[in-house]
Symmetry: C2
Subunit: 316 residues, 2 copies
């Protein structure tokens, strides 16, 4: 049996913070990342690629705002914007991956799925929206949007002044829709691209009707749920550091190479990882391994060819 | 063996010309259409749904323009905009179809694929772009965009004045990527949503690298290619008339109920169908049946439950 891996690409694998976000930049970043990913294919893994969408859906939301402002085009809700980003990013990944595979003489099909992900509308996150999305407004604009669209805003104070940004909930993913189709396609040898941006958040209402949730889902968290559901062997989170560190950038900084779930949970309790960034990644890795995964790895894409790199979380 | 049908939803099945394009309108139109489509599922067909994206990708292009103008956000090229629309529309179709199936007590999964469609870069359409996309510019703006982005413009004269609109090629679809995956998923009993907007147009360059084509593909044409490739039994084009007519709205108007390929080709030669609208639909039906399909049907979604409705093209 071949090993099955779920690989989650971070936003910066596609679009970096200091870049303008042109299509040329995005295509080059994507190519660089996928050329590294090919090492896993060469080692014989069946592969599912998931990806973030932060900068892209941010741009889509800004364009929605501008389109309404300039041309009175009806804005699409957040769920449709996330789905748009799954289409655009997924297609770009698929097209470039097909070229990278060809350059490496690998005969494999690539299939991209639009992926809804189920959340629970009673998730406490819906009472406490924290995830900032879209553009920064002044108080007056924010008040109008709060009244007309029911958006919730939080103030953001920066060196450049203060602004009000829409906040949306980030509920926990309960299950990935079509996980069995994703699994089957991957095991047939196709490389599957799915769960883009953490999935389009949807929930079942009291009548068991499927409704859109105006929310965003953490992509590592949704990818870990997928990995556990389909009993993937390994789960990779590709980010912008080669290893996870504790006491990062302090005198007693320590690089972590191998980490048991017990150790990871202990460090989490002690708050040893960056709150907004590394901590949810570690939690996703813990969830994956606790639910039957063999190994979770956090590293940079460029380190995939070197098996000695990366922080590896295992059961013991 | 169950019968396999490819059903192409026209733009107006999702968003009508006289509407604003709000999400509420799109969802209601989609629900109305899908409730009719269920009749085919109840008759036991395996089903692949394809769809147009005209109004939606038009809005995405306008928003791209507005986002660059207002916020200096880099515009995405046409291929990415088409892929965005596949994500957004495909997700909306999938979510609402799941609800419609549930209401009808039908247990079926729905799977939505992002679909690139191969075109030939030597297609004569690339030398003669005809398809108008995006907003209307004045001459000065159009000249700047022609210089900076290489876009081609054509003047459009209307009652409201003249304007310059970008024109892009509409090349013939050569093949639908992942047609075998679409086929397999449908025959397993999943309802598959694919080939949105006629597919994201891509081509192989001289190095056999897969490149994006700044073009749009006719959705009926691409759907017919898919249908023929996977040897679907039937092909439905759902549009805004219950039957095809010759001499439409003239004294000698004639409703067509059954049409052989020979008759259809004869009428085509005589220019009996609307050039921009019905003629390419008939051609797609001819192509489907000529390549092995049993029957192609042009009708309204609301007529699907009544087998006596619709214009049926058959071999003889």
């Amino acid at each position: 049996m071949k090993k099955l891996a779920v690989v989650a690409l971070g936003g910066n694998a596609l679009l970096r913070g200091n870049q303008l976000g042109t299509i040329e930049e995005q295509e080059q970043n994507t190519k660089d990342t996928l050329e590294n990913l090919v090492y896993l294919v060469k080692e014989g893994y069946d592969l599912i690629i998931t990806h973030g969408n932060g900068p892209q859906v941010g741009n889509i939301l800004m364009r929605n705002d501008a389109g309404e402002e300039m041309y009175k085009i009806a804005q699409m809700p957040l769920d449709v914007c996330v789905a748009d980003s799954q289409g655009g990013i997924g297609y770009m990944l698929e097209r470039i991956l097909r070229n990278v595979l060809k350059e490496n003489d690998i005969q494999k099909e690539v299939v991209t799925l639009v992926t809804p992900v189920l959340v629970d509308i009673n998730d406490p996150a819906f009472k406490n929206p924290t995830k900032r999305v879209g553009k920064s407004y002044n108080k007056e604009q924010a008040d109008i949007l709060a009244n007309t669209k029911g958006w919730i805003f939080k103030e953001e104070v920066k060196d450049t002044g203060s602004g009000w940004r829409r906040v949306v909930p980030s509920p926990k993913p309960k299950s990935v829709m079509n996980a069995d189709v994703i699994d089957m396609l991957a095991k047939q040898g196709n490389i599957v691209i799915a769960v883009g941006g953490g999935g389009v958040p949807v929930y079942y209402d009291e009548n068991h009707d499927l409704r859109p949730a105006e929310a965003v889902i953490d992509k590592d968290s949704a990818s870990a749920v997928l990995g556990a559901t389909i009993k993937a062997d390994e789960f990779y989170i590709l980010t912008d550091v080669p290893f996870v560190f504790i006491n990062y950038k302090k005198e007693n900084e320590q690089k972590l190479e191998k980490l048991t779930i017990k150790q990871a949970e202990e460090y989490m309790k002690q708050g040893m990882f960056g709150e907004g960034n590394m901590s949810p990644k570690i939690q996703s890795c813990i969830n994956f391994v606790n639910n039957g995964g063999k190994m979770a790895v956090i590293t940079e894409a460029t380190k995939l060819k070197d098996k000695s790199f990366g922080t590896k979380l295992v059961n013991d």
